[in-house]
């Protein structure tokens, strides 16, 4: 009787102290705003290892008991940056936030059971008979397992007999996945609608432009996909999806914030096990048949024909909003952002955008190469409403197509940077073997004056405009150019139309300053 009373007295304070643990399994609604990797350049994204990040906002309905309780958030993205988590909507506020990363693993099980009683099971290979006995773990998991049984002290799995440990319980504080929890003190039992906001790695997005040059060769139809990749093992059902264009500053090392501390690993290592026959000969060389087996893997590849680009019309288009100095694109319907998946929705569309096609080269005026080089074919558009565009163009890849005999042919595949409204946008359309440039140093230096000549040849049966930029060399002055030069981006610009199947020349001299 006295014992029972003592038990009750002991048990009571434990019960009173115990915090209620409330587990929230998943969100009711979620919204995912994807940000580009700010260090990724302009090209495409990697769907399997996205290097950008996302802001995830979830609402969760949580039944809270009165008093202190711990709310565990499950079903979050595995790339969650826990230090960025913001929890609002708890009536008692947040006392503290914890992210626990002690994970349940074979080594953690062993380590947490040190000095405790476990069960050692042996199975006889001959008879299949199972013997079970109690044992106490005497060593940590670093150098394999030493057990104490009623018979004495033994090492696990050094005998050659199938041996295994079983445990009565999981040691406290071990979880399957790193878990975010918050402690709150609720004035009364209530059901609260809680908002959880956090940043998560493992997302990225990019714009993918498809530019189709019209038959007239003077306008193009510009279309862009918003391509979002989720490399997380968690998906978001029926989510509000958004993407932010522009470069945001990222300070902390996100990967190290997400990374789990390495789980201790279990190394089963016995005492030295060399035998009289351990010095075995090296393995035999690979036989011919084995080599054949290795090489029998035949890789079959095939190229799919590009489908005609007369694509189906787009119903829903992302809506652009301003977000401070960034551009926010909101997908107008709820979508599923699937785990390990890539999704595309229409980002923008403009038809019949006039463009100027020209051939470009950039030269260093003092370094003639004397070799005929292909010039860069470039499409220039003005990003203004009165020039057919006039909308922010987030950076991304560009696929340029041209119609020929009823088929769409890929002309070029390039990248484009962020363009604000009012800027000049250019699409790199590849190098032309037909329109070439040659930069020649003319013999005979006259004191401090050197002479040069530029020659552009056109093998096409139509006249082409060319633009040649000459960087300004410090300490030199240009004298006697054969034509007046313009200026572009701080360089001298020679712009001219080269006649069909013809050529154009430009001569200049550079005088070294005193």
């Amino acid at each position: 009787m006295r014992l029972i009373l003592a038990c009750l007295l002991l048990a009571l304070p434990i019960a009173a102290q115990a915090q209620a643990i409330v587990t929230s399994a998943g969100p009711e609604t979620s919204s995912v705003t994807v940000y580009r990797d700010p260090d990724r350049g302009e090209g495409g994204i990697s769907a399997s290892f996205p290097t950008g990040f996302a802001l995830i906002t979830e609402t969760r309905r949580i039944a809270l008991p009165a008093g202190e309780s711990t709310v565990r958030f499950e079903g979050v993205a595995d790339g969650m940056i826990a230090v960025s988590a913001v929890v609002t909507g708890l009536p008692g506020g947040v006392v503290q936030k914890n992210r626990d990363a002690r994970l349940l693993s074979p080594a953690a099980l062993l380590d947490g059971s040190l000095g405790n009683r476990v069960h050692l099971r042996r199975t006889s290979r001959a008879t299949g008979k199972v013997t079970d006995q109690d044992a106490i773990i005497r060593s940590g998991p670093d150098g394999a397992v030493v057990l104490q049984t009623s018979e004495g002290v033994e090492a696990l799995r050094c005998s050659g007999i199938p041996e295994s440990l079983s445990y009565d319980s999981v040691p406290a504080g071990l979880a399957a996945r790193p878990t975010l929890s918050v402690t709150t003190v609720s004035p009364s039992a209530t059901s609260a609608l809680v908002t959880l906001t956090y940043l998560s790695t493992g997302f990225d997005w990019g714009a993918n432009y498809v530019a189709k040059v019209a038959k007239n060769g003077r306008t193009l139809d510009l279309f862009a996909w918003l391509t979002v990749a989720n490399g997380n093992a968690s998906g978001f059902v029926d989510a509000q999806l958004m993407a932010v264009a522009g470069r945001v500053n990222r300070e902390a090392d996100y990967d190290s914030l997400v990374e789990n501390a390495p789980s201790p690993s279990l190394h089963l290592q016995c005492w030295p096990m060399a035998t009289t026959s351990t010095d075995s000969p090296p393995p035999p060389p690979m036989s011919a048949s084995m080599m054949m087996a290795d090489m029998s893997e035949i890789v079959v590849t095939a190229q799919r024909r590009n489908e005609s680009l007369a694509a189906a019309p787009v119903v829903k288009m992302a809506k652009q909003e301003e977000l401070g100095d960034l551009k926010l694109y909101r997908v107008p319907m709820r979508v599923d952002v699937n785990a390990h998946g890539q999704k595309q929705v229409a980002l923008l569309q403009k038809s019949a955008v006039p463009f100027h096609l020209y051939y470009a080269a950039k030269l260093w005026p003092l370094d003639p190469g004397d070799e005929s080089q292909p010039m860069a074919k470039t499409l220039r558009m003005q990003n203004r409403a009165n020039a057919g565009l006039g909308l922010p163009l987030p950076s991304g890849g560009v696929a340029l197509f041209e119609q020929a005999d009823g088929e769409s042919l890929l002309l070029a595949n390039s990248d484009m940077r962020d363009h604000a409204i009012g800027e000049e946008a250019e699409i790199d359309a590849g190098r032309s073997a037909q329109v070439r440039i040659r930069h020649i140093g003319v013999a005979g230096k006259d004191g401090t004056i050197q002479s040069f000549r530029i020659e552009v040849t056109n093998a096409l049966d139509k006249p082409v405009p060319v633009e040649v930029q000459l960087a300004r060399p410090d300490g030199y002055s240009l004298i006697g150019p054969s034509r007046t030069l313009g200026e572009k981006d701080g360089a001298w610009l020679w712009a001219q139309t080269v006649p069909a199947n013809g050529k154009a020349e430009f001569a200049y001299r550079l005088k070294e300053d005193r």
Binding site: D100, E321, R417, R514
Partner: protein, 468 residues
């Protein structure tokens, strides 16, 4: 002792097995933890220990697994320290066998056909690569035939432990239980601050919440610990004040160091952030506790660009979007800020907060002015262009610069354009003429504050005269 046994049976009776928490088995006593920013903590652990009269060896399990044993200090009434030991000879099968050399063990052979067991006594002769045994008058190599052989040892050898163990040998003038305090330094515990800043650009206001983020990777849980965070690095290497090649640095985030004292506990020059209640710092835990919550602090958006040299850019470059605010008690956050990361959010058209970028702050005194860059402005850009660079003499150049600034936003903005690189290796650069007056910040840089009209452009030009 009997009471203890009763208690144990009670626990076993009243609690399901899963409830046997590890904290209950921890040998820690009253724990206080003082955590510095640079991955260092001072742990004080007061345990009640029975110490007998005379020389005693006192073991301290459950100290930090990363303890720096040379920093341990021990104190208990009526004791004097004889020696301190930190033993890390760990128990493993190899050690078990090595320590058994010369001793007798039991080997249990299992017949692979019948499963029958036979027991023999064997003396371990040597453990070098393999194990050589003497059984009766035969000499054998353990498991030479690969058949199952269990080796049963009588006991765990002394001085082999499951974990590294700290022990103190003391001479006690009296017998009895008393409080023994243990203090040591350990790496693996650190902290920094995380700030959540909701910026309302239109209203020119910012709401800031500050969180203390402490991380424990020591391998040990500190149960129910009094926790104190010190905003500072101890033992950090002295900072150098110059900059390479004598070139002044860019101004950074802290534009004016404050001169106000925050209303917080201090230790010397460090501010202290005690946690209000005792808390358990679990192993591999990141814990966040709020320490700052300020609403409606005046803040301003701005644009900054720094051209590092007198050079051209091929493409227009985005200005940095910055947020400017003060930590002053008068029109600011009104607190000193421990070092950490500030994450900025702004409400989108639907009213949901969206992330707009983050930046780091150092330990910032109260009364400081901060300018934190959040990212690059999509719509506000500048293209610096060298119009002309003339050689005026052997050591003298004249550079004509032009800066084309564009603003695609529907409102006018004011931008700070910095031209740096004016003083490098004892050069002397003067501004001969400029389209609008600039402010020379230092020998290396000059700043123009430029108003750019809505959906418009403006140009700044200047001529620089450089002598070496």
């Amino acid at each position: 002792m009997k009471f203890a046994a009763n208690m144990l049976s009670c626990i076993l009776v009243t609690l399901p097995a899963t409830a046997l928490a590890q904290d209950a088995t921890s040998a820690q006593g009253d724990v206080s933890v003082t955590i510095y920013n640079n991955n260092l903590a001072l742990v004080q652990d007061v345990r009640t220990l029975p110490i007998g009269r005379g020389v005693n060896r006192v073991e301290f399990p459950d100290v930090s697994a990363q303890i720096r044993p040379e920093t341990v200090s021990f104190a208990a009434d009526g004791t004097a320290i004889v020696e301190q030991n930190f033993d890390f000879d760990l128990l493993s099968p190899s050690k078990l066998m090595e320590k058994a050399v010369g001793q007798v063990v039991t080997i249990v052979r299992t017949n692979p056909a019948t499963g029958a067991e036979t027991r023999e006594q064997a003396r371990v002769l040597a453990v070098n690569g393999g194990t050589v045994l003497q059984i009766g008058n035969r000499i054998e190599v353990l498991r030479d035939d690969g058949l199952p052989v269990r080796v049963v040892f009588d006991k765990v050898p002394p001085n082999l432990r499951p974990r590294p163990t700290l022990s103190v040998t003391v001479e006690s003038s009296q017998a009895g239980s008393r409080a023994a305090s243990l203090r040591y330094l350990t790496p693996g515990l650190g902290w920094s601050a995380d700030y959540v800043a909701l910026f309302d650009a239109k209203a020119g206001r910012i709401d800031v919440q500050g969180w203390i983020t402490l991380t424990n990777s020591t391998g040990t849980t500190y149960a129910n610990a009094r926790t104190l965070l010190v905003a500072g690095e101890v033992g950090a290497s002295p900072q150098s004040y110059g900059s390479p090649y004598g070139r002044p640095r860019s101004p950074g985030s802290l534009r004016k160091a404050g001169t106000e004292t925050a209303n917080r506990e201090r230790l010397g020059d460090f501010y202290l952030y005690p946690l209000a209640a005792r808390t358990t710092i679990a192993d591999r835990q990141t814990k966040q506790v709020s320490f700052l919550d300020v609403q409606g602090v005046p803040a301003k958006a701005g644009y900054e660009y720094r051209n590092d040299w007198l050079n051209s850019s091929e493409d227009p470059q985005s200005f940095s979007s910055v947020v400017k605010f003060s930590t002053s008690g008068n029109g600011g956050l009104g607190d000193a800020l421990p070092a950490g990361t500030v994450r900025f959010y702004m409400k989108d058209a639907s009213g949901a907060p969206q992330f707009i970028g983050e930046n780091a702050v150092g330990h910032t005194p109260m009364g400081s002015e901060l300018v934190l860059a959040t990212g690059e402005a999509f719509d506000v850009k500048v293209q610096p262009v060298v119009e002309k660079r003339e050689k005026l003499g052997e050591y003298r150049w004249r550079t004509t610069m032009r800066y084309d600034i564009s603003n695609a936003k529907p409102e006018a903005v004011s931008v700070d354009l910095t031209q740096a690189g004016l003083d490098w290796v004892n050069s002397d650069t003067r501004i001969v003429s400029e389209s609008q007056p600039s402010k020379r910040r230092n020998s290396d840089s000059t700043v123009w504050s430029v108003a750019v009209p809505a959906n418009g452009r403006t140009t700044v030009s200047a001529v620089f005269d450089t002598r070496y």
